[in-house]
């Protein structure tokens, strides 16, 4: 054994790294093992370094003469283990950064005008296929999804937003003196400083909180007790109804559109079609009730229309038909 200057610790860490490496390659490793590995990696920078060193070594081995003896090229043997036979080729560029194809433009701050206590009304709107970033004068940041419209009034005592048909992520700057009040159909949402996704389509309000707390109350009876929606919660409300549904949710799934992705969990194809219609300029619809009722689970990267539809055909038993002015999904 070669004598080195390594301290006892370095040797022990290298041994631990080897143990982890071997263990995690075996097929009896469990999710708990991986979590324990994650903790080990984070417990000291030396651990991650030692593991990376080992990975480097593992790859270097592929250039050794032994590897070359078995088939002439390194990695030929390793590739034999690859199981996925069906190739899903994707536009590589689309993956970089997730939101590569956003028609993002920083919206104008509050327009010039007389500074009244109510503030000047500023409309922000997007058409189909357009996603827009808006920076308000108070530091609030709004990302507007496609086919959306909101009206903003930053006043002296309150900051107000009127939401029509829209979906947006709100990252509201903290300002205790000026509550951020959003009116959506028959509901008013009150925010002090927080981040949430607000979706209002047809008569359905869908609000998911990522940071902070949001209060939702009836717009008609503002002094009634509000419903508080906190991190990881989602509120769903149909206009005209007195009650709302509050459920546990995954903000990542709801916010995925801001990264150029749409995540679906057992949702109807008609929902997917509606989202795609907004995301791209061409209307998308299901051919018939049977197709519309099909359920889809998956992640769609919405980089460009052609690619998304191609992927949909690959992931789901649908056939895409293109006419001069729309796209029709047929059950295969």
């Amino acid at each position: 054994m070669k004598k080195t200057d390594d301290t006892f610790d370095d040797v022990r860490v290298a041994e631990d790294a080897a143990r982890w490496f071997a263990k995690l390659q075996g097929e009896s490793a469990t999710a708990a093992d991986w979590l324990a590995f994650e903790r080990w990696l984070q417990s000291a920078p030396l651990h991650a370094k030692a593991y990376e060193r080992l990975e480097g070594l593992w790859i270097d081995l592929e250039y050794s003469p032994i590897a070359k003896d078995l088939g002439g090229r390194p990695l030929v043997a390793a590739r034999r283990r690859a199981r996925s036979a069906r190739r899903v080729s994707l536009n590589r560029r689309a993956w970089l950064g997730g939101g590569a194809v956003l028609a993002a433009s920083v919206g104008a701050a509050i327009g010039l005008g007389v500074w009244t206590s109510g503030g000047v009304a500023q409309t922000y709107e997007t058409h189909a296929g357009q996603i827009r970033d808006v920076a308000l004068a108070d530091g609030t940041h709004i990302r507007l999804n496609a086919s959306s419209k909101i009206v903003v009034r930053l006043g002296r005592d309150a900051r107000r937003v009127q939401v029509a048909d829209a979906e947006a992520v709100f990252d509201v700057a903290h300002d205790a003196k000026r509550p951020f009040l959003i009116t959506v159909a028959d509901r008013q949402i009150r925010v002090v400083g927080t981040e949430f996704n607000l979706r209002h389509r047809a008569d359905l309000l869908d609000l998911t909180v990522r940071r902070g707390v949001v209060e939702v109350r009836s717009a008609a009876t503002l002094d009634a007790a509000p419903t508080r929606v906190a991190v990881g919660q989602e509120l769903i409300h149909t206009a005209g109804q007195s009650a709302s549904l509050l459920k546990v949710s995954d903000p990542d799934q709801i916010f995925a559109w801001t990264n150029g992705q749409l995540i679906y969990r057992d949702q109807s194809l008609s929902d997917v079609a509606a989202d795609l219609s907004r995301r791209f300029a061409t209307p998308v619809r299901a051919a018939d009730a049977k197709t519309a009722a099909m359920h889809f689970t998956g992640v769609l990267v919405t980089d460009n229309e052609m690619e998304v539809l191609r992927r949909l055909e690959a992931y789901a038993p649908v056939r895409v038909e293109r006419t001069s002015n729309e796209i029709i999904l047929h059950h295969r």
């Binding site: 070669k2 490496f21 995690l24 009896s28 490793a29 994650e38 370094k49 070594l57 034999r80």
Partner: protein, 190 residues
């Protein structure tokens, strides 16, 4: 056997073949635990954006799977898929750096915490050859059974259970041999 607790991706009275069902269970699991995967790979890659990228690639791989009937621990399988993708990236970076005859600007790229030098200077080439020689020497110094296990797993591409079956030993024995080999190799190469 992958649990069939999740409903298949495609409802509406379809006749669904086995592969679809298993694959959709895996996809359901992926969606459910995506946050855990992103967090883990953020630790490994030291970049949330790179982790997102990689976790997305895991999904692409899942969507393209032919059959998943043999997976014992589906969540661990997802982690392993991602880790192998990370290794593939590292391989790619190294291939670019080691291109024969290429004379690249001195540049160091990073893949996660790995530093991959892109300068194949004369000294670097010699050092690389020496390192390879030491690796081979170290491999040959392993005990016969350990060497056997290592060659079968690393160079012939057999999985741990496959090696165990072929040699008539337990899976944990295979794991122990691999660990011993890696310990020895990393000690021999500073």
């Amino acid at each position: 056997m992958v649990s069939r607790a999740f409903s298949p991706s495609f409802g509406g009275g379809e006749s669904i073949d086995l592969a679809d069902d298993d694959r959709s269970s895996l996809i359901e699991l992926y969606l459910d635990r995506r946050t855990d995967l992103v967090r883990f790979f953020t630790v490994r890659l030291r970049s949330p954006a790179a982790a997102e990228d990689l976790v997305q690639d895991i999904y692409v791989k899942l969507a393209g799977l032919e059959t998943t009937a043999e997976i014992q621990n589906p969540m661990a399988y997802l982690y392993r898929l991602g880790s192998n993708l990370m290794l593939d990236r590292l391989r790619g970076e190294r291939r670019t750096a080691n291109r024969d005859g290429a004379w690249l600007d001195s540049q160091t790229t990073r893949v996660g915490g790995h530093e991959v030098s892109a300068e194949p200077s004369a000294e670097a080439a010699v050092a690389a050859r020496q390192r390879l020689a030491r690796l081979t020497e170290a491999l040959n110094a392993l005990s016969p059974q350990t060497q056997r296990v290592f060659r079968m797993h690393k160079f012939e591409g057999l999985s741990h259970p496959e090696v165990a079956a072929k040699l008539g030993i337990s899976r944990s024995a295979v794991e122990k041999h691999m660990m011993a080999a890696l310990k020895h190799l990393s000690a021999k190469l500073p």
